[in-house]
Amino acid sequence: MAIFIILGIPLLLAIAALFARKERLFGIINCCGYFAALCASVILFKETVFARYSRAFSDFIYIDLLSAVFIVVIAVVAFAAALYSIAYIGKDVGQKIISGRKARVYYLFFNLFCFSMFCVPAVNNLGMLWVAIEMTTLISAFLVGFYNSKESVEAAWKYIIICSVGIILALLGTILFSYAFSKSGLSKSLNWSDMVPVAHVLDKNILKIAFIFILVGYGTKAGLAPMHTWLPDAHSQAVAPISALLSGVLLKTAIYAILRFGIIIIKSGEFSYFSHLMILFGAISLAISCGFILVQKDLKRLLAYSSIEHVGIISIGFGLGSPLAIAGAILHVFNHAVTKSLMFFGAGNIVSAYKKHNMNAIRGVIKAMPFTGIVALLGVFALTGFPPFSIFISEIMIIMAAFTSGSYFIAALLLLFLAVIFGAFIYHFGRMLFGNLPKGVPRQGEAFSGKLVFLFLLFLICGLGVMLIFKYKDLLWLAQILLQG
């Protein structure tokens, strides 16, 4: 039942946005709606954990633990983005950067975007999964090109074209999966729940080829290198709350799609194939993002490359495949979504105060905006995996899993890149946050709803970081049942 509430709220809000008159009031209603969706998603998660299995609406919707986890992640970030949008869009309207009408268009696409993302983990049919992911691309392209500048339209075009090609390849992979299914003499179906129980009798060669297309296709959307080229452009040009949604959850929905197919591959007895491919793409992503982070000059692009790095870590975590690694990877999905949203909101505040993306021109953030500055400082430590923040826990779990499974080389690579990226981040942010305020930048007041969202996210980051140390046995248990479908 909860799933219908979760899917219904964004749709209703999207319709309401068409008729809304006052954008500020609507922003608050919007935020309340996502709070309700968040509560519903937590209830859904609880139900699936205790019932172990739940399935609604015959063929169309399928919820298991894996989808429940992703729905919670989407709901958390969507709520945070809705809360942040009130102040951010209000400020843009106040400074006449956008008109009141455009603000309502923003809310319309915001809700449609969230709806399409909620659809991804909820659908059962692999063809509908594809349609939902393609919809997320098409809708969010408007939000990337929202400001109508040359840069943002260029970014939106690259985003829509590269992701569409990638996703067409994923459709090819999906068709091959359905071919493998129909070849084994079973009736025509693309439902995931029909495919998994018979995975072991499917033709392994076809599945392997199909999975390559799936990984390249959805990997493009997930931002795995070397198909990541759209990602820094789109993330740096989008409206700040949308950057958080793109980086925090859009990439994760693509990871979710890869996992759905990956589970079929694992069940057909080809675990090592899945594992090698995931680890390979993960390691390439880490290496490439590490290089770009070192030499980066643009604040939002820096954060975008860091998303590629974290997607790489998640991919390695799933590739390692032991319960500890899976638990780490799932946690990392959540932690990265929360922490990266925090950082993009902070970056949004900084950019709108300094009117620049270039990190060389941004100095003395703590003096200009004490609250944002301090939160960003904490966020940098959280993002680079410093204890007691939650990313530290998930990263250490993945690295421990690499050591215990004997993959010393992978563990060493992870540690090396994480150390380099840590250094680069501290260097870039140290220069931006401290130092003297450049002329012409006044001290800024900060809106209450803006502060609230930072506190909410910080609470999640710190709370999880401390709590998880005591709860890791439950986590391992969750991870074990997670990949059983």
């Binding site: 049919n125 349609v131 339209v153 075009w157 090609v165 820094p232």
Partner: protein, 211 residues
């Protein structure tokens, strides 16, 4: 009959690869979609399934009529140079296309070891159409030709899906059609925007974002 239509489909794809100007490309796309409609309609006639009639009808309305019309309209409205901005000239493109055809044949016969020549041929053509679409997207540098490349890839996948697994489930097929229509509308909207901001639609010159 089916073999002849497939042959025409193959020929129209070659025409797209060697096309030099926008209208020629769109016209060949229309021929290709028409062939696809023919193939589906014949299957619908033989199997007498109402769902297949609906799908072939949608194919005709969307890909043969509506989408080419929209693309022509965009060309007329933005009044840009109709050249495609070839990265590779038509002769060498044709050689590439021949190579792709051969590779698709090998791939199809490796993947689906069957004795049915028409089936393997259809699959080879489907893979070739997908790779030709990819080729158009990479080596033709205008925004519009990239849209057409995407549509061509989608056509190839439609052919593939209808031959290997008897088509996708009905509602998925409908959803994909809807999706294709929406994506053409949205991309067309962005082509207008690019043309307005940059006064050209040469994608190769979109290089403000780097690093």
């Amino acid at each position: 009959m089916q073999g002849i239509i497939l042959f025409v489909l193959l020929a129209s794809t070659y025409l797209m690869v060697i096309a030099k100007r926008m209208p020629a490309l769109i016209r060949s796309f229309r021929y290709q979609s028409l062939c696809l409609f023919g193939v589906t309609f014949i299957v619908a006639l033989t199997q007498r399934e109402p769902e297949l009639y609906v799908i072939s009808g949608l194919l005709f309305v969307l890909k043969v009529s509506l989408i080419p019309y929209l693309l022509y309209r965009i060309i007329r409205r933005i009044k840009v140079n109709e050249e495609l901005g070839l990265f590779i000239n038509p002769q060498i493109s044709l050689l590439w296309a021949l190579a792709f055809t051969y590779l698709s044949w090998i791939f199809a016969s490796y993947l689906f070891s069957s004795n049915n020549a028409i089936l393997t041929g259809t699959l080879a053509i489907a893979f070739f159409v997908v790779s030709a679409g990819m080729f158009l997207m990479v080596f033709r540098m205008t925004a519009l030709s990239q849209i057409i490349g995407l549509l061509v890839m989608e056509n190839g996948l439609f052919l593939l899906a209808s031959t290997v697994s008897g088509g996708m489930p009905f509602f998925v097929e409908i959803a994909i059609f809807f999706d294709v229509l929406v994506s053409v509308l949205i991309m067309g909207f962005f082509v207008y925007k690019i043309n307005k901001l940059f006064t050209h639609i040469d994608v190769n010159k979109l290089s403000r974002l780097k690093g």
